[in-house]
Protein backbone atom coordinates (compact mmCIF):
# COMPACT_ATOMS: atom_id res chain seq x y z
CA UNK A 1 0.00 0.00 0.00
CA UNK A 2 1.10 3.53 -0.73
CA UNK A 3 1.11 6.45 1.71
CA UNK A 4 0.78 9.70 -0.23
CA UNK A 5 2.23 12.67 1.62
CA UNK A 6 3.10 16.28 0.82
CA UNK A 7 6.85 16.78 0.45
CA UNK A 8 6.73 19.73 2.84
CA UNK A 9 5.10 17.56 5.51
CA UNK A 10 7.70 14.81 5.05
CA UNK A 11 10.47 17.38 5.40
CA UNK A 12 8.84 18.73 8.58
CA UNK A 13 8.43 15.21 9.93
CA UNK A 14 12.09 14.49 9.31
CA UNK A 15 13.19 17.67 11.09
CA UNK A 16 11.04 16.85 14.10
CA UNK A 17 12.04 13.21 14.36
CA UNK A 18 15.78 13.65 13.95
CA UNK A 19 15.99 16.63 16.30
CA UNK A 20 16.68 14.01 19.01
CA UNK A 21 19.38 12.14 17.05
CA UNK A 22 21.36 10.13 17.92
CA UNK A 23 18.45 9.25 20.23
CA UNK A 24 15.45 7.71 18.49
CA UNK A 25 12.28 9.73 17.90
CA UNK A 26 8.67 8.80 17.23
CA UNK A 27 5.58 10.36 15.70
CA UNK A 28 1.95 9.52 14.99
CA UNK A 29 0.66 10.27 11.51
CA UNK A 30 -3.07 10.92 11.10
CA UNK A 31 -3.97 9.33 7.78
CA UNK A 32 -7.06 8.63 5.74
CA UNK A 33 -7.85 5.85 3.28
CA UNK A 34 -8.04 7.25 -0.26
CA UNK A 35 -9.16 4.64 -2.79
CA UNK A 36 -6.34 2.04 -2.67
CA UNK A 37 -3.87 4.33 -0.87
CA UNK A 38 -3.50 6.21 2.39
CA UNK A 39 -3.04 9.98 2.50
CA UNK A 40 -1.36 12.00 5.22
CA UNK A 41 -3.67 14.51 6.89
CA UNK A 42 -1.37 15.68 9.72
CA UNK A 43 1.37 14.43 12.03
CA UNK A 44 2.55 14.88 15.59
CA UNK A 45 6.13 14.26 16.72
CA UNK A 46 6.33 13.25 20.37
CA UNK A 47 8.23 15.64 22.63
CA UNK A 48 11.05 14.62 25.00
CA UNK A 49 8.65 14.56 27.96
CA UNK A 50 6.42 12.01 26.24
CA UNK A 51 9.02 9.22 26.07
CA UNK A 52 9.27 6.64 28.81
CA UNK A 53 12.66 7.36 30.39
CA UNK A 54 12.67 4.02 32.24
CA UNK A 55 12.44 1.95 29.04
CA UNK A 56 15.60 0.61 27.34
CA UNK A 57 13.86 0.60 23.94
CA UNK A 58 12.20 3.75 22.54
CA UNK A 59 8.79 3.87 24.17
CA UNK A 60 6.13 6.58 24.28
CA UNK A 61 4.36 6.87 27.64
CA UNK A 62 1.02 5.14 27.86
CA UNK A 63 -0.68 8.44 28.72
CA UNK A 64 0.57 10.14 25.56
CA UNK A 65 -0.35 7.18 23.40
CA UNK A 66 -3.86 7.00 24.83
CA UNK A 67 -4.38 10.75 24.40
CA UNK A 68 -3.22 10.67 20.79
CA UNK A 69 -5.29 7.61 19.95
CA UNK A 70 -8.34 9.29 21.48
CA UNK A 71 -7.72 12.36 19.30
CA UNK A 72 -7.44 10.16 16.20
CA UNK A 73 -10.62 8.33 17.12
CA UNK A 74 -12.53 11.58 17.62
CA UNK A 75 -11.40 12.86 14.22
CA UNK A 76 -12.03 9.47 12.58
CA UNK A 77 -8.47 9.14 11.26
CA UNK A 78 -6.31 6.03 10.89
CA UNK A 79 -2.80 5.81 12.33
CA UNK A 80 0.67 5.29 10.96
CA UNK A 81 3.29 5.04 13.71
CA UNK A 82 6.78 6.26 12.80
CA UNK A 83 10.01 5.88 14.68
CA UNK A 84 13.65 6.41 13.80
CA UNK A 85 16.81 4.36 13.83
CA UNK A 86 19.39 7.14 13.41
CA UNK A 87 22.57 6.02 11.72
CA UNK A 88 21.05 2.81 10.32
CA UNK A 89 21.76 4.03 6.77
CA UNK A 90 20.11 2.64 3.65
CA UNK A 91 19.57 -0.78 5.19
CA UNK A 92 17.19 0.46 7.88
CA UNK A 93 14.83 -2.30 9.05
CA UNK A 94 12.40 -2.95 11.89
CA UNK A 95 14.29 -4.32 14.92
CA UNK A 96 13.49 -7.66 16.51
CA UNK A 97 11.77 -5.71 19.29
CA UNK A 98 9.66 -3.90 16.68
CA UNK A 99 8.79 -7.16 14.96
CA UNK A 100 7.64 -8.64 18.25
CA UNK A 101 5.68 -5.60 19.46
CA UNK A 102 4.16 -4.14 16.29
CA UNK A 103 1.64 -6.93 15.49
CA UNK A 104 0.26 -6.65 19.03
CA UNK A 105 0.12 -2.85 18.81
CA UNK A 106 -1.53 -3.11 15.36
CA UNK A 107 -4.30 -5.32 16.80
CA UNK A 108 -4.83 -2.87 19.68
CA UNK A 109 -4.92 0.22 17.45
CA UNK A 110 -7.20 -1.35 14.87
CA UNK A 111 -9.61 -2.31 17.64
CA UNK A 112 -9.55 1.25 19.01
CA UNK A 113 -9.90 2.89 15.58
CA UNK A 114 -12.79 0.78 14.32
CA UNK A 115 -10.80 -1.50 12.03
CA UNK A 116 -9.00 1.27 10.14
CA UNK A 117 -5.67 0.28 8.57
CA UNK A 118 -2.64 0.63 10.84
CA UNK A 119 0.79 1.40 9.42
CA UNK A 120 4.29 1.46 10.84
CA UNK A 121 7.41 3.10 9.44
CA UNK A 122 11.01 2.98 10.60
CA UNK A 123 13.29 5.67 9.23
CA UNK A 124 16.95 6.45 9.05
CA UNK A 125 18.35 9.67 7.60
CA UNK A 126 18.67 7.91 4.23
CA UNK A 127 15.88 5.36 3.89
CA UNK A 128 12.80 3.83 5.45
CA UNK A 129 10.95 0.56 5.74
CA UNK A 130 7.22 0.25 6.25
CA UNK A 131 4.33 -2.12 6.57
CA UNK A 132 0.59 -1.83 6.95
CA UNK A 133 -2.01 -4.02 8.64
CA UNK A 134 -5.42 -4.18 6.94
CA UNK A 135 -8.41 -6.52 6.86
CA UNK A 136 -6.61 -8.59 4.25
CA UNK A 137 -3.33 -9.03 6.15
CA UNK A 138 0.05 -7.32 6.32
CA UNK A 139 1.74 -5.74 3.32
CA UNK A 140 4.61 -3.33 2.62
CA UNK A 141 3.91 0.39 3.08
CA UNK A 142 5.68 2.72 0.66
CA UNK A 143 5.76 6.49 0.71
CA UNK A 144 4.71 8.49 -2.34
CA UNK A 145 5.94 12.05 -1.78
CA UNK A 146 4.14 14.78 -3.75
CA UNK A 147 5.21 18.37 -4.29
CA UNK A 148 8.37 20.25 -5.21
CA UNK A 149 10.93 17.60 -6.18
CA UNK A 150 13.78 19.32 -4.34
CA UNK A 151 11.68 19.50 -1.17
CA UNK A 152 11.42 15.71 -1.02
CA UNK A 153 13.76 14.35 1.67
CA UNK A 154 16.37 11.86 0.42
CA UNK A 155 14.95 9.03 2.50
CA UNK A 156 11.53 9.38 0.83
CA UNK A 157 12.72 9.91 -2.73
CA UNK A 158 11.37 7.31 -5.11
CA UNK A 159 13.69 5.94 -7.76
CA UNK A 160 12.45 6.56 -11.31
CA UNK A 161 10.61 3.54 -12.64
CA UNK A 162 12.06 3.08 -16.08
CA UNK A 163 14.87 4.13 -18.35
CA UNK A 164 14.23 2.57 -21.71
CA UNK A 165 17.31 3.03 -23.91
CA UNK A 166 15.18 3.06 -27.07
CA UNK A 167 13.13 5.86 -25.59
CA UNK A 168 16.32 7.69 -24.78
CA UNK A 169 17.26 7.59 -28.45
CA UNK A 170 13.89 8.88 -29.56
CA UNK A 171 13.94 11.56 -26.91
CA UNK A 172 17.63 12.28 -27.32
CA UNK A 173 17.29 16.07 -27.30
CA UNK A 174 15.14 16.00 -24.18
CA UNK A 175 17.51 13.61 -22.41
CA UNK A 176 20.30 16.09 -23.13
CA UNK A 177 18.22 18.77 -21.38
CA UNK A 178 16.65 16.78 -18.57
CA UNK A 179 18.88 13.71 -18.17
CA UNK A 180 17.95 10.02 -18.44
CA UNK A 181 16.31 10.08 -15.02
CA UNK A 182 14.29 13.20 -15.89
CA UNK A 183 13.06 11.67 -19.14
CA UNK A 184 12.23 8.41 -17.36
CA UNK A 185 10.20 10.31 -14.77
CA UNK A 186 8.25 12.08 -17.53
CA UNK A 187 7.49 8.81 -19.29
CA UNK A 188 6.31 7.22 -16.05
CA UNK A 189 3.91 10.08 -15.21
CA UNK A 190 0.20 9.33 -15.12
CA UNK A 191 -1.45 12.55 -16.22
CA UNK A 192 -5.12 13.47 -16.03
CA UNK A 193 -6.10 16.19 -18.51
CA UNK A 194 -9.51 17.73 -17.85
CA UNK A 195 -10.89 19.66 -20.83
CA UNK A 196 -9.62 19.10 -24.35
CA UNK A 197 -10.42 22.46 -25.90
CA UNK A 198 -8.09 25.30 -26.84
CA UNK A 199 -5.54 24.74 -24.08
CA UNK A 200 -6.16 21.05 -23.34
CA UNK A 201 -5.52 19.93 -26.91
CA UNK A 202 -2.16 21.77 -26.90
CA UNK A 203 -1.30 20.26 -23.52
CA UNK A 204 -2.01 16.75 -24.80
CA UNK A 205 0.09 17.34 -27.90
CA UNK A 206 3.03 18.58 -25.82
CA UNK A 207 2.69 15.73 -23.32
CA UNK A 208 2.84 13.26 -26.19
CA UNK A 209 5.92 14.96 -27.65
CA UNK A 210 7.52 14.81 -24.21
CA UNK A 211 6.87 11.06 -24.12
CA UNK A 212 4.19 10.80 -21.40
CA UNK A 213 2.69 7.30 -21.72
CA UNK A 214 -0.27 7.23 -19.30
CA UNK A 215 -3.30 9.46 -19.85
CA UNK A 216 -6.71 10.00 -18.33
CA UNK A 217 -8.55 12.35 -20.71
CA UNK A 218 -11.68 13.86 -19.19
CA UNK A 219 -14.02 15.45 -21.72
CA UNK A 220 -17.30 14.51 -23.37
CA UNK A 221 -17.77 17.20 -26.01
CA UNK A 222 -17.87 16.67 -29.74
CA UNK A 223 -15.64 18.71 -32.05
CA UNK A 224 -17.57 21.66 -33.48
CA UNK A 225 -16.76 23.67 -36.61
CA UNK A 226 -15.69 26.67 -34.50
CA UNK A 227 -13.11 24.44 -32.74
CA UNK A 228 -11.05 23.88 -35.89
CA UNK A 229 -9.26 27.22 -35.51
CA UNK A 230 -7.90 26.38 -32.08
CA UNK A 231 -7.82 22.64 -31.41
CA UNK A 232 -4.38 21.10 -31.81
CA UNK A 233 -4.48 17.92 -33.85
CA UNK A 234 -7.94 18.50 -35.31
CA UNK A 235 -8.81 18.10 -38.99
CA UNK A 236 -11.54 19.92 -40.85
CA UNK A 237 -13.35 16.59 -41.21
CA UNK A 238 -13.65 15.97 -37.47
CA UNK A 239 -16.71 18.19 -36.88
CA UNK A 240 -18.41 16.80 -39.97
CA UNK A 241 -17.84 13.26 -38.71
CA UNK A 242 -19.06 14.29 -35.26
CA UNK A 243 -15.84 13.09 -33.67
CA UNK A 244 -15.28 13.46 -29.97
CA UNK A 245 -12.50 15.68 -28.68
CA UNK A 246 -11.15 12.61 -26.85
CA UNK A 247 -10.92 10.80 -30.19
CA UNK A 248 -8.85 13.64 -31.64
CA UNK A 249 -6.60 13.71 -28.56
CA UNK A 250 -6.09 9.94 -28.59
CA UNK A 251 -5.23 10.11 -32.30
CA UNK A 252 -2.65 12.83 -31.62
CA UNK A 253 -1.06 10.76 -28.85
CA UNK A 254 -0.99 7.49 -30.77
CA UNK A 255 0.43 9.07 -33.92
CA UNK A 256 3.41 10.14 -31.85
CA UNK A 257 3.77 7.28 -29.39
CA UNK A 258 1.91 4.27 -30.72
CA UNK A 259 -0.26 2.22 -28.36
CA UNK A 260 0.08 3.92 -25.01
CA UNK A 261 -2.43 3.95 -22.16
CA UNK A 262 -5.28 6.40 -22.85
CA UNK A 263 -8.32 6.20 -20.57
CA UNK A 264 -11.35 8.32 -21.53
CA UNK A 265 -13.89 8.12 -18.68
CA UNK A 266 -16.21 10.84 -20.05
CA UNK A 267 -17.36 14.00 -18.31
CA UNK A 268 -15.72 15.26 -15.10
CA UNK A 269 -19.02 14.89 -13.29
CA UNK A 270 -19.14 11.11 -13.49
CA UNK A 271 -18.05 8.70 -10.78
CA UNK A 272 -15.72 7.00 -13.27
CA UNK A 273 -13.86 10.19 -14.14
CA UNK A 274 -13.63 11.38 -10.54
CA UNK A 275 -12.28 7.97 -9.45
CA UNK A 276 -9.76 7.90 -12.30
CA UNK A 277 -8.42 11.36 -11.41
CA UNK A 278 -7.82 10.35 -7.80
CA UNK A 279 -5.13 7.94 -8.96
CA UNK A 280 -3.08 10.08 -11.34
CA UNK A 281 0.27 11.73 -10.56
CA UNK A 282 -0.92 15.15 -11.69
CA UNK A 283 -4.16 16.70 -12.91
CA UNK A 284 -3.97 19.37 -15.60
CA UNK A 285 -7.10 21.50 -15.66
CA UNK A 286 -7.83 23.06 -19.06
CA UNK A 287 -11.42 24.11 -18.49
CA UNK A 288 -13.27 27.38 -18.89
CA UNK A 289 -15.45 27.22 -15.80
CA UNK A 290 -14.88 27.62 -12.08
CA UNK A 291 -17.30 24.85 -11.16
CA UNK A 292 -14.93 22.27 -12.65
CA UNK A 293 -12.00 24.07 -11.01
CA UNK A 294 -13.69 23.82 -7.61
CA UNK A 295 -14.27 20.08 -8.10
CA UNK A 296 -10.65 19.51 -9.13
CA UNK A 297 -9.32 21.67 -6.30
CA UNK A 298 -11.24 19.68 -3.71
CA UNK A 299 -10.31 16.33 -5.23
CA UNK A 300 -6.64 17.34 -5.41
CA UNK A 301 -6.59 18.52 -1.79
CA UNK A 302 -8.45 15.49 -0.45
CA UNK A 303 -6.24 12.94 -2.22
CA UNK A 304 -3.02 15.00 -2.31
CA UNK A 305 -2.84 15.03 -6.09
CA UNK A 306 -0.89 17.95 -7.63
CA UNK A 307 -3.20 20.06 -9.79
CA UNK A 308 -1.91 22.35 -12.54
CA UNK A 309 -4.59 24.73 -13.79
CA UNK A 310 -4.53 26.85 -16.93
CA UNK A 311 -6.69 29.90 -17.55
CA UNK A 312 -6.76 32.24 -20.53
CA UNK A 313 -8.80 35.36 -21.06
CA UNK A 314 -9.45 37.94 -23.75
CA UNK A 315 -11.52 40.92 -22.73
CA UNK A 316 -13.20 43.87 -24.38
CA UNK A 317 -14.70 44.36 -27.80
CA UNK A 318 -12.40 43.66 -30.74
CA UNK A 319 -9.71 44.85 -30.89
CA UNK A 320 -9.44 43.45 -27.36
CA UNK A 321 -8.19 45.59 -24.50
CA UNK A 322 -6.52 42.80 -22.61
CA UNK A 323 -5.43 39.28 -23.27
CA UNK A 324 -3.42 36.92 -21.22
CA UNK A 325 -3.56 33.94 -18.98
CA UNK A 326 -2.42 32.36 -15.80
CA UNK A 327 -0.81 29.16 -14.61
CA UNK A 328 -1.76 27.97 -11.12
CA UNK A 329 -0.11 24.87 -9.67
CA UNK A 330 -1.48 23.41 -6.47
CA UNK A 331 1.22 21.32 -4.84
CA UNK A 332 -0.10 19.40 -1.80
CA UNK A 333 0.81 21.23 1.37
CA UNK A 334 0.86 24.54 -0.51
CA UNK A 335 -1.74 27.11 -1.58
CA UNK A 336 -4.63 26.11 -3.85
CA UNK A 337 -6.51 28.07 -6.51
CA UNK A 338 -8.90 29.45 -3.90
CA UNK A 339 -5.97 30.59 -1.70
CA UNK A 340 -4.75 32.46 -4.79
CA UNK A 341 -8.19 34.00 -5.34
CA UNK A 342 -8.35 32.27 -8.73
CA UNK A 343 -11.79 30.79 -8.00
CA UNK A 344 -15.06 32.70 -8.27
CA UNK A 345 -17.47 30.83 -5.98
CA UNK A 346 -20.57 32.53 -7.43
CA UNK A 347 -19.58 31.38 -10.89
CA UNK A 348 -18.72 27.92 -9.53
CA UNK A 349 -22.15 27.68 -7.90
CA UNK A 350 -23.85 28.44 -11.21
CA UNK A 351 -21.63 26.01 -13.08
CA UNK A 352 -22.42 23.21 -10.64
CA UNK A 353 -26.14 23.72 -10.13
CA UNK A 354 -28.62 21.23 -11.51
CA UNK A 355 -30.26 21.84 -14.85
CA UNK A 356 -33.61 22.18 -13.09
CA UNK A 357 -32.35 24.90 -10.77
CA UNK A 358 -30.65 26.66 -13.65
CA UNK A 359 -33.88 26.69 -15.63
CA UNK A 360 -35.67 28.30 -12.70
CA UNK A 361 -32.92 30.90 -12.29
CA UNK A 362 -33.04 31.74 -16.00
CA UNK A 363 -36.81 32.03 -15.83
CA UNK A 364 -36.52 34.40 -12.87
CA UNK A 365 -33.65 36.40 -14.34
CA UNK A 366 -31.09 35.50 -11.68
CA UNK A 367 -28.48 33.95 -13.95
CA UNK A 368 -25.51 36.00 -15.01
CA UNK A 369 -25.17 36.48 -18.71
CA UNK A 370 -22.40 34.45 -20.28
CA UNK A 371 -20.99 35.46 -23.63
CA UNK A 372 -19.17 33.31 -26.13
CA UNK A 373 -15.56 34.02 -25.21
CA UNK A 374 -13.01 35.02 -27.85
CA UNK A 375 -10.10 32.64 -28.29
CA UNK A 376 -6.73 32.64 -30.05
CA UNK A 377 -4.65 29.54 -30.57
CA UNK A 378 -1.31 31.36 -30.11
CA UNK A 379 -2.47 32.64 -26.71
CA UNK A 380 -3.76 29.20 -25.73
CA UNK A 381 -0.49 27.69 -26.93
CA UNK A 382 1.66 30.20 -25.07
CA UNK A 383 -0.10 29.68 -21.74
CA UNK A 384 -0.31 25.91 -22.19
CA UNK A 385 3.43 25.82 -22.89
CA UNK A 386 4.16 27.89 -19.78
CA UNK A 387 2.18 25.32 -17.83
CA UNK A 388 4.15 22.50 -19.44
CA UNK A 389 7.39 24.13 -18.27
CA UNK A 390 6.05 23.94 -14.72
CA UNK A 391 5.12 20.30 -15.30
CA UNK A 392 8.71 19.62 -16.36
CA UNK A 393 9.98 21.37 -13.24
CA UNK A 394 7.60 19.30 -11.12
CA UNK A 395 8.40 15.96 -12.74
CA UNK A 396 12.14 16.26 -13.18
CA UNK A 397 13.29 18.79 -10.59
CA UNK A 398 15.27 20.65 -13.28
CA UNK A 399 14.30 23.79 -11.32
CA UNK A 400 11.80 24.58 -8.55
CA UNK A 401 8.18 24.88 -9.68
CA UNK A 402 6.90 28.45 -9.87
CA UNK A 403 3.37 27.61 -8.75
CA UNK A 404 1.52 30.81 -9.68
CA UNK A 405 2.22 33.14 -12.57
CA UNK A 406 0.36 35.44 -14.92
CA UNK A 407 1.04 36.13 -18.56
CA UNK A 408 0.13 39.56 -19.92
CA UNK A 409 0.04 39.09 -23.68
CA UNK A 410 -0.51 42.81 -24.34
CA UNK A 411 2.65 43.79 -22.49
CA UNK A 412 4.52 40.60 -23.35
CA UNK A 413 5.28 39.98 -19.69
CA UNK A 414 5.30 36.92 -17.46
CA UNK A 415 4.73 37.83 -13.83
CA UNK A 416 5.32 35.27 -11.06
CA UNK A 417 2.78 35.62 -8.25
CA UNK A 418 3.53 35.26 -4.58
CA UNK A 419 0.73 33.22 -3.02
CA UNK A 420 0.63 32.02 0.58
CA UNK A 421 -1.33 29.08 1.93
CA UNK A 422 -4.54 30.55 3.40
CA UNK A 423 -5.26 28.75 6.67
CA UNK A 424 -8.84 30.02 6.35
CA UNK A 425 -9.32 28.60 2.83
CA UNK A 426 -12.72 26.90 2.66
CA UNK A 427 -11.62 24.73 -0.27
CA UNK A 428 -8.24 23.18 0.56
CA UNK A 429 -8.16 23.31 4.36
CA UNK A 430 -11.22 21.16 5.12
CA UNK A 431 -10.41 18.77 2.25
CA UNK A 432 -6.67 18.43 2.86
CA UNK A 433 -5.73 14.75 3.20
CA UNK A 434 -9.30 13.62 3.88
CA UNK A 435 -9.26 10.98 1.12
CA UNK A 436 -12.44 8.91 0.83
CA UNK A 437 -14.15 10.83 3.62
CA UNK A 438 -14.22 13.98 1.52
CA UNK A 439 -16.74 12.17 -0.72
CA UNK A 440 -15.75 13.95 -3.91
CA UNK A 441 -18.10 11.59 -5.78
CA UNK A 442 -20.98 13.81 -4.60
CA UNK A 443 -20.10 15.99 -7.59
CA UNK A 444 -21.10 13.18 -9.97
CA UNK A 445 -24.38 13.77 -11.71
CA UNK A 446 -26.90 10.95 -11.90
CA UNK A 447 -25.85 8.73 -14.80
CA UNK A 448 -28.29 7.14 -17.22
CA UNK A 449 -28.80 3.45 -16.47
Amino acid sequence: MELRAAAVDLAGLQRGLFARAPAEGAAFLAVEPAASALVLRSFRVFTDKEYDAASVELSVTEGSQVAQLAALKRAGHALVEVHTHPGAGRGVRFSLFDKEQLPRFARYVRLKLKGAPFGALVMSEEAYSGRVWTDTGVEPLTIHPVGQRMAIPDWANLPSHCSDPRANHRFDRQVRALGVDGQARIQALQVGVVGLGGTGSVVVQELAHLGVRHYVLVEDDLVEASNVSRLAGVTRWDPLLRRRKTTVARRTIRRLLGRVEVHTPGSLRTRTALAALRDVDVIIGCVDNDGARLVMSELASADLVPYLDIGVGIEGEAPSESMGGRVSFYLPGGPCLACADDLDFDEAAEDLESEGLRNIRVERGYTRERHVEPSLMPLNGAVASLAMMELLAFATGVRPVIPFSRYDAMQGRLIPQSVELNQECVVCRPANGMGDRHRVERYALAEAK
Binding site: G291, L343, F345, D346, A349, G356, I360, R442
Partner: protein, 133 residues
Protein backbone atom coordinates in the same frame (compact mmCIF):
# COMPACT_ATOMS: atom_id res chain seq x y z
CA UNK B 1 -23.97 13.09 4.49
CA UNK B 2 -22.07 15.94 2.83
CA UNK B 3 -18.81 16.25 4.84
CA UNK B 4 -19.25 19.96 5.58
CA UNK B 5 -22.86 19.43 6.68
CA UNK B 6 -21.70 16.54 8.88
CA UNK B 7 -19.41 18.98 10.70
CA UNK B 8 -22.34 21.28 11.37
CA UNK B 9 -25.04 18.72 12.01
CA UNK B 10 -25.01 18.74 15.83
CA UNK B 11 -25.20 22.55 15.77
CA UNK B 12 -28.10 22.45 13.28
CA UNK B 13 -30.02 19.97 15.43
CA UNK B 14 -29.34 21.91 18.63
CA UNK B 15 -30.87 25.07 17.11
CA UNK B 16 -33.53 23.41 14.95
CA UNK B 17 -34.75 20.39 16.90
CA UNK B 18 -36.97 19.20 14.04
CA UNK B 19 -34.08 19.14 11.53
CA UNK B 20 -33.95 16.06 9.29
CA UNK B 21 -31.31 15.08 6.78
CA UNK B 22 -32.69 13.51 3.60
CA UNK B 23 -31.14 12.14 0.40
CA UNK B 24 -32.02 12.26 -3.31
CA UNK B 25 -31.62 15.17 -3.55
CA UNK B 26 -29.50 15.71 -0.44
CA UNK B 27 -31.27 18.27 1.74
CA UNK B 28 -32.12 19.44 5.22
CA UNK B 29 -35.76 19.71 6.24
CA UNK B 30 -36.95 21.64 9.29
CA UNK B 31 -40.27 22.84 10.66
CA UNK B 32 -40.37 26.61 11.06
CA UNK B 33 -42.77 28.67 13.14
CA UNK B 34 -44.54 31.43 11.21
CA UNK B 35 -45.73 34.83 12.41
CA UNK B 36 -49.40 34.54 13.22
CA UNK B 37 -51.55 36.58 10.89
CA UNK B 38 -48.95 36.65 8.12
CA UNK B 39 -49.53 33.22 6.65
CA UNK B 40 -52.39 30.75 6.52
CA UNK B 41 -50.74 28.64 9.19
CA UNK B 42 -48.44 28.98 12.18
CA UNK B 43 -45.86 26.42 11.19
CA UNK B 44 -44.49 24.96 7.95
CA UNK B 45 -41.92 22.42 6.92
CA UNK B 46 -39.24 23.78 4.60
CA UNK B 47 -36.40 22.04 2.78
CA UNK B 48 -33.01 23.42 1.76
CA UNK B 49 -31.03 21.60 -0.93
CA UNK B 50 -27.36 21.07 -0.08
CA UNK B 51 -25.17 22.14 -3.01
CA UNK B 52 -22.26 19.80 -3.78
CA UNK B 53 -19.86 22.73 -3.40
CA UNK B 54 -21.13 23.64 0.09
CA UNK B 55 -19.65 25.51 2.12
CA UNK B 56 -17.66 27.32 -0.60
CA UNK B 57 -20.94 27.74 -2.44
CA UNK B 58 -24.09 28.69 -0.55
CA UNK B 59 -27.49 27.04 -0.59
CA UNK B 60 -29.83 28.80 -3.01
CA UNK B 61 -33.49 29.24 -2.17
CA UNK B 62 -35.66 26.91 -0.15
CA UNK B 63 -38.62 24.66 -0.74
CA UNK B 64 -42.09 24.68 0.75
CA UNK B 65 -44.89 22.14 0.40
CA UNK B 66 -48.10 23.05 -1.42
CA UNK B 67 -50.77 24.92 0.51
CA UNK B 68 -48.69 27.60 2.22
CA UNK B 69 -49.99 31.05 1.31
CA UNK B 70 -50.04 34.50 2.81
CA UNK B 71 -52.95 35.16 5.17
CA UNK B 72 -54.81 37.03 2.42
CA UNK B 73 -54.65 33.94 0.22
CA UNK B 74 -52.04 35.24 -2.20
CA UNK B 75 -49.16 32.96 -3.13
CA UNK B 76 -45.49 33.12 -2.23
CA UNK B 77 -42.92 33.79 -5.03
CA UNK B 78 -42.39 30.17 -5.99
CA UNK B 79 -41.55 27.89 -8.90
CA UNK B 80 -42.45 24.25 -9.35
CA UNK B 81 -39.61 22.21 -7.85
CA UNK B 82 -40.11 19.07 -9.94
CA UNK B 83 -37.08 20.05 -12.02
CA UNK B 84 -34.84 20.03 -8.95
CA UNK B 85 -35.96 16.55 -7.96
CA UNK B 86 -38.63 17.60 -5.45
CA UNK B 87 -42.00 16.94 -7.11
CA UNK B 88 -44.90 18.29 -5.08
CA UNK B 89 -42.74 21.01 -3.51
CA UNK B 90 -42.21 24.62 -4.56
CA UNK B 91 -38.93 26.50 -4.71
CA UNK B 92 -39.07 29.92 -3.06
CA UNK B 93 -36.89 32.51 -4.73
CA UNK B 94 -34.49 33.56 -1.96
CA UNK B 95 -30.90 34.59 -2.61
CA UNK B 96 -28.15 35.93 -0.38
CA UNK B 97 -27.01 38.66 -2.74
CA UNK B 98 -26.32 42.37 -2.52
CA UNK B 99 -27.75 45.10 -4.77
CA UNK B 100 -25.09 44.32 -7.42
CA UNK B 101 -26.10 40.68 -7.50
CA UNK B 102 -22.95 39.52 -5.71
CA UNK B 103 -23.25 36.80 -3.13
CA UNK B 104 -23.07 37.93 0.49
CA UNK B 105 -22.29 34.36 1.64
CA UNK B 106 -19.08 34.44 3.72
CA UNK B 107 -18.05 30.95 4.80
CA UNK B 108 -15.01 30.11 6.93
CA UNK B 109 -13.03 26.96 7.68
CA UNK B 110 -14.51 26.83 11.18
CA UNK B 111 -18.19 27.00 10.39
CA UNK B 112 -18.91 28.76 13.70
CA UNK B 113 -17.07 31.89 12.59
CA UNK B 114 -18.80 32.42 9.26
CA UNK B 115 -21.94 31.63 7.31
CA UNK B 116 -23.29 28.13 7.79
CA UNK B 117 -26.53 26.16 7.67
CA UNK B 118 -27.82 27.60 10.93
CA UNK B 119 -27.24 31.15 9.67
CA UNK B 120 -28.88 30.25 6.35
CA UNK B 121 -31.94 28.83 8.08
CA UNK B 122 -32.00 31.97 10.26
CA UNK B 123 -32.02 34.11 7.11
CA UNK B 124 -34.98 32.12 5.80
CA UNK B 125 -36.85 32.72 9.06
CA UNK B 126 -36.19 36.48 8.75
CA UNK B 127 -37.27 36.40 5.10
CA UNK B 128 -40.51 34.67 6.02
CA UNK B 129 -41.05 37.10 8.90
CA UNK B 130 -40.60 39.99 6.39
CA UNK B 131 -43.39 38.52 4.27
CA UNK B 132 -40.84 37.33 1.70
CA UNK B 133 -39.42 40.80 1.09
Amino acid sequence: MHPRVAEEWSEVVSVYRTARHEDDPERIEVDLDLESGTYNGTTTPIAVLIPAGYRATSPDGFLIPPGLTFADGSGLPVSDATGVGMPGWFLVSFHLIDERGTSTWRPTVDFRRGDNFVSYLGSIESFLARRCN
